[in-house]
Symmetry: C2
Subunit: 245 residues, 2 copies
């Protein structure tokens, strides 16, 4: 069992749609997770980012730990202190990877880096401070809940149909042709059915969710169609595409 | 010196804009490399995909080798035979990586996989046949030419300004904010100036060029603005994700 599983008890969070953090939103609007797109949506849900923690039990209260937003759950603060092994007050990619890996399954560094990039502190792009960590940890807790809920055959992995259902469950009606292409990127060439570990599931989810949010910002009327100028288009897509060396 | 450098003599190809292959285009249209977008373009160039080989000297002629398109340069056929180490008649990712790596510098497997994905044979997504290889090899030859032309300080690497100029040289006026984000993904955290090896340069180039081509397909009038429905948007972006475990 990974540190992550130990920290996040499956029953302690609702499988609602995880949002990217405030800091990623270039327009400075807090993300909400209203289902998208209009034509394909099947449910509506609203959730402000800091409005719902992932803590088990009593919910958030102000803890006084320097750097955490008011109302951060003590569970998240405790997690931060455990993940921050060198007591630097910041989480680097190695600390995060270690926290998310279990003895038998390493959380892929490219997913760690994608997460760190999307949740990064504007002043220090290589490390997460308490605020960024709280946002990321909450988001990951929600993805963990979704992952466990939709892994119906308890295989510990998510296949194409489970992925489709999981995304649908959080309001993303991703075209099946897109899912096919996406999941084919995880084909190891063995000929076996493609199944995603938690890290790949998070990678897929964060990318699909993030791109959908970006599209939605340009389709305020929920028509299912949006216009972009070239610079906007490139600016919204590129952050999701390239992984580090 | 890598096999690639040995095969492709720098002076043997024009640094024109490399296109993705016919097979990648979902609308079934041959890509041309007309500069884009309208508002930002500074040059116009047209090149049909198979119209211009990368061969040195005499240009293409029919060779009779099974599977190669008519007019394939004998240089490309010879390259195929050298890259296809196991004589299977197909190129797998290991063979391609080996061909593109030199003794002191390994061509990153994620870039190999992105290229194989974009140039893949619809019947066998893990290996390239002669036709796919010819298309990929021609494209890589053009990127090599651009890389060497714009590495003005002969450092063997491309920095942000050289990347900007190289892209501009092939008709891509990429916003500098996009380039900043893109190149930041290659930051190794050392604090040194970020510079791209050939593999990272190809990764950036293929993604930027490919997305621009996709955008252009939806902006036939070269207005600099395009409309997408949600499915189209996701379908055009997801293939450029670099993934694989």
């Amino acid at each position: 069992m990974s540190f992550f599983s130990k920290i996040f008890h499956p029953s302690s969070y609702a499988p609602s749609a995880p949002s990217l953090p405030y800091s990623y939103d270039q327009q400075g609007q807090t993300y909400s997770t209203t289902s998208y797109p209009g034509n394909y949506s099947h449910q509506q849900q609203q959730q402000s980012y800091y409005g719902q923690g992932t803590s088990g039990g009593g919910g958030g209260y102000s803890y006084g730990h320097s750097g955490f937003p008011p109302g951060t759950s003590p569970d998240v603060i405790r997690s931060f202190e455990m993940v921050d092994r060198d007591r630097s007050g910041f989480i680097d990619e190695n600390e995060l990877q270690q926290a998310l890996s279990s003895g038998y399954q390493r959380f892929h560094i490219k997913t760690v880096r994608l997460l760190m990039f999307l949740f990064k502190n504007p002043h220090d792009s290589r490390r997460l401070g308490p605020k960024e960590f709280a946002a990321l940890w909450s988001c990951l807790g929600q993805w963990r809940g979704i992952y466990e809920r939709y892994d119906r055959d308890r295989s510990g992995k998510i296949d194409l149909l489970e992925l489709r259902d999981a995304l649908y469950g959080i309001g993303l009606a991703t075209p099946s042709s897109v899912l096919q292409v996406l999941i084919s990127k995880y084909d190891d060439g063995s000929g076996r059915k493609i199944e995603l570990n938690f890290d790949s599931f998070v990678e897929c989810g964060v990318i699909l969710k993030g791109l959908t949010e970006k599209f939605k910002e340009k389709d305020k009327g929920y028509t299912g169609t949006a216009s972009f100028d070239y610079d906007e288009f490139m600016s919204m897509v590129i952050p999701f595409l390239v992984s580090y060396d």
